[in-house]
């Protein structure tokens, strides 16, 4: 589960896929997750990181993270999932 190397992510959370020309916006917590994914963190590690920094229960956190990753997958942001 690695974000494609050519995906551009601005510090404001604006995401650009140069292969498809698609662009998306992530909110601050989404941007944080994206950056962790880009650094090579796995789902478990991201859950731990977010749990330490946000006041929420682990079930909600896991559900939201799964949703986010699934959305990113649909947008073809991960390596080896299209093209």
């Amino acid at each position: 589960m690695k974000i494609k190397k050519n995906i551009a992510v601005s510090e404001n959370g604006f995401i650009f896929n140069p292969s498809s020309g698609e662009s998306f916006s992530a909110n601050p917590s989404g941007l944080e997750i994206l950056n962790l994914l880009r650094q090579g963190h796995d789902k478990e590690s991201i859950l731990n990181h977010m749990g330490e920094n946000y006041q929420t229960d682990s079930q909600t956190l896991e559900r939201d993270l799964t949703d986010f990753i699934e959305t990113a997958r649909q947008y073809h942001l991960f390596e080896h999932e299209d093209e």
Binding site: A8, F16, P18, S19, S20, G21, E22, E83
Partner: protein, 343 residues
């Protein structure tokens, strides 16, 4: 150098002329003076005097080649153009046929061959795809609306109803097919092309072939803002390796000579279908200039027989955003082009 350019109709379904002229005037390797060639008195480019030094009206393609040649001879006497860049599909046949005579007058062109022009025609697209190993949607050229009645069983709904030169509409039932058939055929004549609809995202590539199989320039673009006529009003340059590979295959296999635009559809599985080959520069060409590939400049150099290095890169993630602009024009200028045919 004096360059004559058509397609000055910078309207909601724009001709490429004004964008081509901007590229030519920004050329780093030569300076030039632009002569506009217009069909209608209200083509906006006629009145853009900072871009176009002088405009001459020319006869519609339906008037025949002799009328066009006669007018070009007059323009040649007045302006001595070194080069003509025609920008409409519908005028290309005449210019391709006249190219040897124009060359003798000292007017250069860089156009596809007649065989290339005919072969890539929408009517011939299925055979073209088969010959060159390119995936194209299934389609059929029809001359009566009744011929379309069974095609939905073959292609499914919706069907794409296309004019032989321009225009395309989606039809979701037979009534709509008939309505589009009548409207488009009244404007552009027969045949009408009925094409299978491919679900997906549309991409375009503009490029320039050297006529020997080499790609001189190629820039892929994704439309971001599309008008109700299906024209790009905003778009972004992209780095799509598959689209570029398909582009290279097209140029290599056909030995395409001149500028072109490929209209591609990428389906959900990432497969590309070639929807159309436009044998001319597209209206969004200024994006290519803006990302580092001045295709009008390279085209002019090839036409003049000057050495022209292929472009090797372009900026990805640059956008064009089109806008409309109201010019204030004296009635005398309109009168001049309407009555004298030159301004």
């Amino acid at each position: 150098m004096t360059i004559a350019v058509t397609g000055l109709n910078a309207i909601d379904s724009p001709g490429p002329g004004v964008a081509v002229i901007r590229g030519l005037l920004e050329a780093e390797s030569f300076s030039c003076r632009i002569i506009g060639l217009s069909y209608e008195s209200l083509e906006p480019g006629i009145y853009m005097r900072d871009l176009v030094s002088k405009t001459y009206s020319i006869p519609y393609p339906s008037s025949g080649m002799d009328a066009l040649m006669e007018r070009l001879q007059y323009i040649h006497q007045q302006e001595k153009p070194d080069l003509i860049i025609p920008n409409f599909d519908s005028e290309l046949y005449s210019f391709i046929k006249l190219a040897p005579r124009l060359k003798k007058m000292g007017i250069h062109t860089f156009l596809p061959t007649l065989a290339q022009f005919e072969e890539r025609h929408k009517v011939n697209l299925p055979a073209f795809g088969e010959k060159y190993g390119l995936s194209v949607p299934r389609s059929k050229a029809v001359y009566t609306a009744n011929e379309t009645l069974s095609l939905d069983r073959e292609y499914g709904w919706p069907l794409v109803v296309k004019g032989k030169y321009y225009d395309a509409s989606l039809a979701y039932n037979h009534e709509q097919v008939k309505a589009h058939f009548n409207r488009i055929s009244a404007k552009w004549g027969l045949p009408i092309i009925i094409q299978e609809f491919v679900h997906g995202t549309e991409y375009n590539v503009t490029g320039l072939g050297d006529g020997e199989g080499g790609v001189v320039a190629a820039v892929p673009m994704r439309k971001q803002y599309i008008t109700d006529k299906g024209k790009a009003w905003g778009g972004i340059s992209i780095d799509d390796k598959k689209a570029l590979a398909l582009n290279a295959q097209f140029v290599r296999e056909t030995k395409w000579r001149g500028p072109y635009e490929l209209e591609l559809m990428k389906d959900k599985s990432g497969n590309y279908f070639l929807l159309e080959i436009n044998p001319r520069i597209p209206a969004w060409i200024y994006l290519a200039v803006g990302v580092g590939q001045n295709i009008p400049e390279a085209l002019a150099r090839l036409a003049m027989g000057w050495p022209t290095d292929p472009f090797t890169h372009y900026e990805v993630g640059k956008m064009f955003v089109r806008y409309s602009w109201d010019m204030i024009v004296d009635l005398a200028a309109f009168e001049q082009i309407s009555t004298k045919g030159e301004l």
